[in-house]
């Protein structure tokens, strides 16, 4: 029996949008962007989610992360031997349960330094209580030093001893190039205590060198940190190279599921999504 870390059952999400009808008037219409979605994510594997633009992939990720509410359905998260329903939990609590997220547009902190970006991603929030740094200043300083070391180690393990990120640690993150910001977003996920990470188009918009780095980083996530990875991708090469399973999403449901070769070789997928 497969060990599923995340079970998504019959999830539906709709919103009302205003369309112009045949009479030329605007009218409200209920549109189901998620229409009975069923997905199981196997622990320790890399699972892909593919589908056309606007198919609802990011909406699904938002629903899992707690940034969007679903209308009906269930999302179950298996932590250890406990099963937790996460549909109604606030987003920060879902993160604390061990579900990390990387967004389509990175959402790094542009005006904060590279180091601060990483420190804010640490799962240990000691010192973030308002006056602790004044009242318990020596312990607070010790923990800050420890966190900084952790950042250094993460950078070294990901990018090698002489890495660019540690050198630029005090520069504002907005001074990094687009690809570097993407890598930073991924690196942040190594600071937290995650069991499952959701990556939304991690290789979009970056050059092939960086894509390779990203692939290696994702593999490291699984190997070294025992993470389960669920990612949205448009780059089929990456899907084929990296992922163990693939879900093809269409009209708010999962239309095809299987190994990447199966799914990408599937006729329906080739016709509707890849236009072949």
């Amino acid at each position: 029996m497969s060990d599923y870390i995340l079970e998504i059952n019959s999830v539906k999400k709709s919103f009302v949008r205003n369309r112009v009808n045949i009479r030329g008037e605007g009218e409200d219409e209920r549109f189901f962007i998620l229409d009975g979605l069923d997905i199981n994510i196997e622990r320790g594997k890399i699972t892909a989610l593919i589908g056309g633009n606007g198919a609802g992939k990011t909406t699904l990720f938002n629903a899992i992360s707690g940034l969007a509410k679903v209308n009906s359905g269930e999302i179950l998260y298996r932590k250890g031997n406990k099963t937790i329903s996460i549909v109604d939990l606030p987003s920060y609590k879902i993160t604390r349960l061990g579900i990390g997220r990387m967004f389509q547009d990175d959402h790094i902190f542009p005006d904060l330094s590279v180091l601060d970006n990483m420190m804010l991603a640490d799962s240990d929030t000691f010192g973030e209580f308002p006056f602790i740094s004044i009242l318990k200043s020596s312990e607070s300083r010790r923990i800050e030093k420890y966190k900084i070391k952790k950042v250094k180690n993460v950078f070294i393990s990901l990018f090698g001893k002489e890495n660019f990120f540690w050198e630029k640690r005090n520069e504002p993150a907005k001074s990094l190039s687009f690809g570097q910001q993407r890598l930073l977003g991924l690196a942040r996920l190594f600071m937290g205590d995650y069991k499952l990470v959701l990556l939304d188009e991690p290789t979009a918009g970056v050059n092939p060198l960086i894509i390779n780095q990203i692939i290696n980083i994702v593999r490291q996530m699984v190997k070294e940190k025992n993470l389960t990875v669920f990612l949205v991708e448009h780059n089929m090469e990456v899907v084929l190279k990296l992922t163990d399973y693939c879900n093809f999403m269409s009209h708010g449901k999962i239309a095809v599921f299987g190994t990447p070769e199966d799914v990408i070789g599937n006729d329906e997928v080739r016709k509707t999504y890849m236009g072949i």
Binding site: F15, V16, R17, I33, T59
Partner: protein
């Protein structure tokens, strides 16, 4: 008694509706919190003062001149202050503070040239007519008739012209509109002109009734903002409804409590709506995507 209050409330409400509509024209479309709008409301009466009382020009000519000058001032604000900031993609805080800056400058210029004390436009006591035991002053009648005329004309224009659709589109997505060839800058000018028109109209009508001083803008603006919130954002009918509601409720409050607590009623309404019904009475709910 009740009917008298209702009449008073509707008369005042028509002014609130007018002024709030002018404010919402800018806010709904550009999201600029145009605090300096308060100044436009105050500016028109002083222009009337100059032309009508100081230069002896008949009122029915002085008023339109004042309106034109106010429109001019409104456009000036857009060109000199708001547009450069919008091009720089300044935050709303920066825009707000700049708006406050203009407001301070203009109020003090007026105070410098005309003085701080209350000025009267119409030295005569306003005549009135009565229906049964309800008295309506001529000023109230003017306010009601002219406001409703202006508002109706605008609503008709909105429905039957592409202007209405364009403003709604502007609110939803500025950049997309520009891509589709809509001249955003021209639209903004038109909006600021209309906005100035409504402010001037309201200001003149009230000042003719009770006079003015350099500081009348802000309290009126606050009422306009509350009217907008109560009515709801997004639709231009909303501030109109909100305006009348506030006018009537204030009239009732004066009778129930006393005129002192009138403001408290207005602001409590603001808080209640913000907390429990931020979309207002007929406003549009935020799209849930």
């Amino acid at each position: 008694m009740f009917l008298q209050l209702l009449v008073n409330g509707i008369a005042m409400g028509s002014i609130y509706a007018l002024v709030s509509l002018g404010f919402s024209l800018v806010y709904n479309t550009t999201r600029i919190f145009h605090i300096a709008y308060a100044v436009l409301y105050m500016f028109a009466p002083y222009m009337i003062l100059t032309f009508y009382r100081n230069l002896g020009i008949p009122f029915y000519i002085a008023f339109p001149i004042a309106i034109l000058l106010t429109i001019f001032l409104s456009v000036l604000m857009e060109l000199i202050i708001y547009r450069p900031l919008s091009r720089k993609k300044s935050s709303s805080t920066v825009v707000l503070i700049s708006s406050i800056g203009i407001m301070i400058v203009v109020i003090n210029l007026i105070a410098m040239f005309y003085g701080n004390e209350t000025k009267i436009l119409n030295p005569n006591i306003s005549k009135s007519i009565s229906f049964g035991n309800i008295i309506i002053t001529h000023s109230q009648l003017f306010q009601l008739i002219i406001s409703i005329l202006a508002i109706s004309t605008f609503l008709v224009f909105l429905k039957f012209s592409k202007f209405g659709i364009k403003t709604r589109a502007m609110r939803d997505d500025n950049v997309l509109c520009a891509v589709f060839g809509m001249n955003i800058n021209k639209m903004r000018l038109v909006l600021f002109m209309l906005s100035g028109f409504f402010a001037a109209l309201g200001g003149g009508l009230v000042a003719y009734d009770v006079g003015m001083d350099p500081y009348v803008g802000m309290p009126m603006l606050l009422n306009a903002v509350v009217a907008l919130i109560i009515g709801g954002m997004g639709r231009f009918e909303a501030p109109i409804i909100g305006g009348f509601i506030i006018g009537i409720l204030q009239a009732m409050a004066v009778w129930t409590f006393s005129s002192r607590w009138q403001d408290a009623v207005t602001f409590t309404l603001l808080i209640l709506f913000l907390l429990f019904r931020p979309q207002g009475l007929i406003g549009e709910k935020e799209r849930a995507v």
